[in-house]
Amino acid sequence: MDVWPVRGYEGQMTAMDERTKEAVRYLGYGRHAVDDKTRALVQEVFTELEQAAGPRIIYRIFELQTFGEERVEIGGLEIRSRSLSRNMKGCERAVMLGATLGVEADLLMKRYSVTQMSRSVVMQACAAAFLEEYLDNWQKGLAESQRQEGYYLRPRFSPGYGDFDIVHQGEILRMLDSAKKIGLTMTDSSMLTPTKSVTAVIGLSKEAVPCHKKGCETCDKTDCRYRR
């Protein structure tokens, strides 16, 4: 008997949970049906990650000011970015956050790159999806508590999205004291370490603004093979 009774596109999309769909997308399947073997591997790797990885998050809420079309100030940090300004329009405060799956995920990926490359690649995708899922769940809680204070959340916006320069990553990490608090650091070239990590800002406004869901759709690179 087939363990994964998935045949064709329709059945698959209903049977797959959100993170599986995301992982499969990261693996470059686009809108194609995923094969059973890969799908089984994806499930296995998620289980492995759940046991090994210790996701951690640190966040702080800062006052926010926008100046014109391309300047935002969050807790004294000045950021020049049109896309961020657009995203933060009408916000009074912003949540700054850093999150990481920890070194364990990196160690596992490194280990499988020596013994089983297919698993390493699948883990890369699953780890990214796992971290997103973790953040989504955390954000639900945050949205609820902010609602009680009268604030609505904007989508998460990370350095590297649009013209939000990746070098701001360092300042965000410092403001959060993330190295000490969750072990999230950065290389000299502004890459987050451990690699499965995220920094982001979330605008808080008094008004609910209907907006697109996440970063992917806001990106200008419409021919991306990993696009949602």
Binding site: R56, S113, M117, S118, T187, S189
Partner: protein, 799 residues
Amino acid sequence: MILERLGKELIYFDGGTGTLLQEKGMRPGELPEIWNLTHTEEMVDIHRQYFEAGSDIVLTNTFGANALKFHSTEYELEDIVAAAVVNVKEGAWLGVHDGREVYAGLDVGPTGKLLKPMGDLSFEEAYEAFREVVQYGEEAGADLIHIETMSDTYEVKAAVLAAKENTKLPVFATMIFDEKGKLLTGGDVASVVALLEGLRVDALGINCGLGPEQMIPILKEIMKYTSVPVIVKPNAGLPKQRGGEVYYDVLPEEFGEIMRKIVELGASLAGGCCGTSPDYIRALVRKTKELKNLDKRCMPPKEHTIVSSYGKAVFLGEEPRIIGERINPTGKKKFKEALKNHDIDYILREGISQQDAGAHILDVNVGLPDIDEPKLMQEVVTELQSVSSLPLQIDTVDVKALEAAMRVYNGKPMVNSVNGKQESMDAVFPLIQRYGGVVVGLTLDEAGIPDTAEGRAEIAGRIIKEAEKYGIQKKDIVIDVLAMTISSDPKGAGTTLDALRLVRERYGVCTVLGVSNISFGLPYRPAVNSNFYTMAMQAGLSAGIINPMSEDMMRSYYSFCALMDYDANCERYIEKYGNQAAAFVSGKQAEITLKSAIEKGLKEEARYAAYELVKIQAPLEIINEQMIPALDTVGKGFEKGTVFLPQLLMSADAAKLAFAVLKDELAKYGDTQQKKEKIVLATVKGDIHDIGKNIVKVLLENYSFDVIDLGKDVDPETIVEKVIEEDVKLAGLSALMTTTVVSMEETIKLLRKKRPDCKVMVGGAVLNQEYADMIGADFYGKDAMQSVYYAQKLLKEEM
């Protein structure tokens, strides 16, 4: 002297400074260390308040004062550190009214960077940064070095070594644990204690991260293992956020109350961390100074024999442990070959497969004539600890190689070995004293191996006694009474077993044994080995050095553990053998061709098919008729978009296993392998994302290229040097982000200058054809298969 008081009385630390600095007007984003020079009065006043509150040790305001974290164009690190020490002494002069002896502790915090291999900071760079600050501190008159808030065992090792090797000051070290008793980098309490005690810190403990209540379980755990005085410095509870402000939820009275419990549990040095103030220290002093038995803080010595890796501790002495012996060239043609060809991946796979098979510790021996053993040993240890969480046993007779490996080892290693010869002990014990470790003592001396149990036990006694001179405790010595083959000495096994029992009884030390020597020269060795293994465990063997890939040995091991109640409810035994009958059935592989197995990405089937096929067909024919066509089919499918990356790589993994089978066969015919074309691959300087490069590597290897993988974050110079040294015609470079494409361009420029005939192919997330042209690459591989096609076109068609 602080050292004379340690463990004999309760010593009080200071508390946090952050809040006090803010109250005195420090703005967010300012570097607090600069205040030592610009706001001397305020700094002195903060220190004074702590001395008045009762602190015996006040820390300098130098938490972030290291070259990696402190970047100022105006102020010199040396001046900052010097002023910081003076400020504490001033504070003492103003704040101590009862004439008690107090101390300025040089505060050393983490670099804020992650060490290699997960980050980009090398161990030696971290060491240098710490060396600088501790030397300044000692020159300025600090009384002790306090390394704190560390969350990485590797970084704390660099800091402690820097302090011990460059100053004469006492060294304290405390780390951040989370509520589960783990470091952010995964280490547990026992592994941290083993490491720090091995490095001979004068006191160790826990600070920051948690409030006093949450620290209690961790303190209890620390007390179980440590023999040195313990420091506890909690935050003022857990952080809460109100509005934009962060505050802590435990007030001074409550803090003092919980700290009293902590002192009663055995902490010898107590203070506060984030959110605490002089009021907290006052409360702490008030609640604890009346406690009885404060003068009996001496830590009873603990007898656990512990080796550790970055992530876990392995205890010897109770349940028997397995030391995997496979990383060793002795008698292994393929392993020797791998060492000569610098095939590190082969060695890593030997390690990982032993871990998967159930090993608890991995023995590492890379000794071959004509090999730079110190360099190779250091490299293999570094690489192994990035793919395996098992502690390592460094196995070498080359003292330089031993030291090189011990220095970079992330944890408390096992060392194989020292023996009863004076020369051996003179060379090895100083290294154990310096880096920590559990050392294997072989019971042989200048006169050889005694042929009686008593003779061997005597040598063991001498080794233990000599070790005492270096302060090496008995718990850090494990004795190997040596197994001699029964084919030349019929009483050999009996003597060894007697010696095992004798050594355990007489000295109470742990034991190891290279078990398989016993059967040397006999047919069907596994039968003798596995039975002798059981007998040795019965005689008190703590850890057998065995081949965990041998089912006979593992059967003995699991059976012994089940029989002797080391395996609760026989759980591990059942897990291992519960499906035995079923496994035999599925062992019969379905009939499937090698070509089809590779196309479908079926690893075991591919291995089996290759194994069967090689009995009737020549390896090169199999490669050309089955494997290459299969890989081509999959590759084409990938290009067309009908096969996806995971499937492509499953096929690659399957092909790799089949190749391994064929390689063995080819080796039998001697050197009939075709000459392979060399390709250098590297992820460029500054870039730590190497998955793309690794994918390309696997595929190129499948297509019979000889890939020289230089890893990630590789200097342009290293890449060029390798290209020249190996006379390589094609280099592949990967980069993930715009910030690192710069180093890609730099590498290409240098290659063009030094080796214009070497072509360069590039790939990575931010690259495209335009970008690749701009930085001067010869080829842009938009996916992994494209790189293979390019390499084939360039290197194979030329021939």
